[in-house]
C-alpha cells in the first residue's frame, strides 16, 4: 500500500507547483502589458503577427464556419418543422452562431492552429538561445517577441469569430433556403427581428475578445516557460491546446451566466 505521507507530499507538491505557475503567468501578463508600448509604436511588428495568427487561419475558420452553418441548417430545420415554424430557421442559426458557436468554436480552432504555432515558435527561439541573444543585445524579448504575438492574437480573434459566424449564416442559408426551400424573406426578416445587436452580437464580440486574451496569453506563456529541449517544446504545445480548450469552455460558462440571464 502506498505511504499516505508520501501521497500527501506528492499532492502538496503538485498543488504548489500549479499555484506557483499561475502566479508566474499573472506576473508575465503584467509584464506583457507594461512592455506593450513597442507593439503599438512599431505597428508593423503587431501587424506581422496579425498576418501569421489571423490571415493564415482564414482557411480553417471559413471552411469550418461554413460546415457548422450547414449542419445547423439541417438540424434546425429538422426540429423546427415538427412545430411548423421552419421560417424561424434564420434566427436559430444566427443566434446559435453569434452567441455561442462563433466565439467558442473559432477560439478552439484558433488555439489549435495559431496558439500552438506561437508556442512552438517562442519555445524554439528559447531552445536555440535566440531569446537570450536578444536580451544580451539589450532588446527586451517580452517587448520585441512576446507582446506583438499576444496583441496579434487578441486583435485577430474577434475578427475570426465574426467571420466564422458570417460563414455559418451563409451555410444555414444555403441548406435552408437554397436546398430545402425555406422562404427567403422569412429567413432573413426573422433573423433581423430576432437578433439584438447589443445582447447577441456585441456579447459575442466580448466573448471572442476574452477568448483571444486567454488563448494568446496561454500560447505565449507556455512558449516562454517551456523547457528548452525538443521534448519540452512539444509538451508546451500540447499544454497550450489543452489548457486553451479548458479555459475557453470555462470562461464561456462564466461569461454566458453574466450576459444572458433570461433577458
Amino acid at each position: 500500500m502506498a505511504d499516505p505521507a508520501a501521497l500527501l507530499r506528492k499532492l502538496g507538491h503538485a498543488v504548489t507547483e500549479r499555484v506557483w505557475r499561475l502566479g508566474f503567468a499573472a506576473r508575465f501578463f503584467v509584464a506583457i502589458i507594461i512592455y506593450s508600448g513597442a507593439s503599438f509604436r512599431r505597428l508593423h511588428l503587431t501587424l506581422r503577427e496579425v498576418f501569421f495568427s489571423g490571415v493564415l487561419s482564414l482557411l480553417i475558420i471559413t471552411v469550418s464556419g461554413l460546415f457548422v452553418g450547414l449542419v445547423l441548417g439541417l438540424q434546425g430545420y429538422e426540429t423546427l418543422q415538427r412545430y411548423g415554424s421552419t421560417e424561424a430557421l434564420g434566427v436559430l442559426v444566427a443566434l446559435s452562431l453569434t452567441r455561442e458557436l462563433g466565439p467558442v468554436v473559432a477560439a478552439l480552432l484558433f488555439a489549435s492552429r495559431a496558439g500552438s504555432s506561437v508556442t512552438a515558435e517562442i519555445g524554439l527561439m528559447k531552445a536555440t538561445e535566440q531569446l537570450k541573444a536578444m536580451d544580451m543585445m539589450a532588446v527586451n524579448p517580452i517587448a520585441r517577441v512576446v507582446a506583438p504575438r499576444f496583441w496579434g492574437g487578441v486583435i485577430s480573434m474577434p475578427l475570426l469569430a465574426a467571420l466564422f459566424s458570417a460563414m455559418g449564416v451563409l451555410g444555414g442559408w444555403l441548406i435552408g433556403v437554397v436546398f430545402i426551400g425555406v422562404d427567403e424573406g422569412a429567413f432573413w426578416s426573422q433573423m433581423q427581428a430576432g437578433v439584438d445587436f447589443r445582447f447577441d452580437v456585441w456579447n459575442g464580440v466580448i466573448k471572442s475578445f476574452v477568448f483571444g486574451v486567454a488563448v494568446s496569453l496561454i500560447a505565449v506563456f507556455e512558449g516562454y516557460d517551456s523547457v528548452p529541449t525538443a521534448e519540452g517544446v512539444s509538451r508546451a504545445i500540447t499544454r497550450t491546446v489543452v489548457t486553451s480548450a479548458l479555459a475557453i469552455l470555462a470562461l464561456d460558462f462564466v461569461l454566458t451566466s453574466f450576459m444572458f440571464r433570461g433577458a
Partner: protein, 270 residues
Amino acid sequence: MSDDILVDIEDLHFNYDGRPVLQGINMKIPRGKVVAIMGGSGCGKTTLLRCIGGQLRPTGGRVRLERHQVCGMSHAELYALRRKMGMLFQFGALFTDISVFDNVAFPLREHTDMSEEMIRDLVLMKLEAVGLRGAHQLMPGELSGGMARRVALARAVALDPMLVMYDEPFTGLDPIALGVIGQLIRKLNDALGATSIMVTHDVQESLLIVDYIYFVSQGRIVAEGTPDQIRASTDPFVHQFVHAEVDGPVHFDYPARSLREEFLSGVAHG
C-alpha cells in the same frame, strides 16, 4: 580599479539549486586583450560568462565592468551597459525568421536612428569583415555551421562594442572553419580596439590567438598564464588538458559506487 582593467572579478560565487558552481573566482581582464577561459564541460565557464554579462546574478562577490558594478544594476542600467557589449553564442543564435542581412542589421535598427541607407552600408561592411557580404540575402537555414557563426560574429560587433564575449565559438566546426573563426576573433578585436573574453575548451586554436588564459575546474581558477607559460607549464591539470590525456587529475567517470557494490545491490536503478 586601474583604467587598464576592463573587467575585474573579485571572489565570485554562484550556486545553482544549492549546488556551488563558482567558488571564489578572481580575474582581471585588461583592455584590448583576448582572454580565454578554459576548462572541462560543466566546470562553470559559461556561468562565469553569464555573470559578467549580467544574465545571472552571483550569490557572492562582485563583477566590475569599466566603472560599473554589474551585479547591483537595475534592468535599465544593465541594458545601457549591454549596448556596449557583444556576445557570440555557442551555435550562433541567429534569428531564423529573418535574413542574414536583417540579423546583422537587428541591433542597429533597435538601438540607433540611422537611415536604412546607412544601415545597409554598415551591415555590408560588417559582413565583408567576416567574408560573407555575398551571402547577405540568404536565410540562416541556408548557412553552414561555420558561416552561421561568422554571421553571428558580424552581428555581435555591429555596434562596435567595447567587450565581446564568445561562448564556445569553435564547437562543431571543421578545422578550416575553426581556423577562420579564430583568426576573425583576433582580427576584429584588434581592429575594433575591443576586449574579448572567450569561453572554450579548444586548446590548440586558443593558444594561437589569445593573450592570456585562465583554467577553471570545479568552479575555481586552477591555473593561468600566457600561451607560452601554459605550453611550458608542469601543472598536472594544465598538462592533462593541453595534451588531452585520459589520465590525470580530471576524472573521466561520473562519481559512482564501486562496481562490486552496484552489482551486489541486485537492483538496477533507471
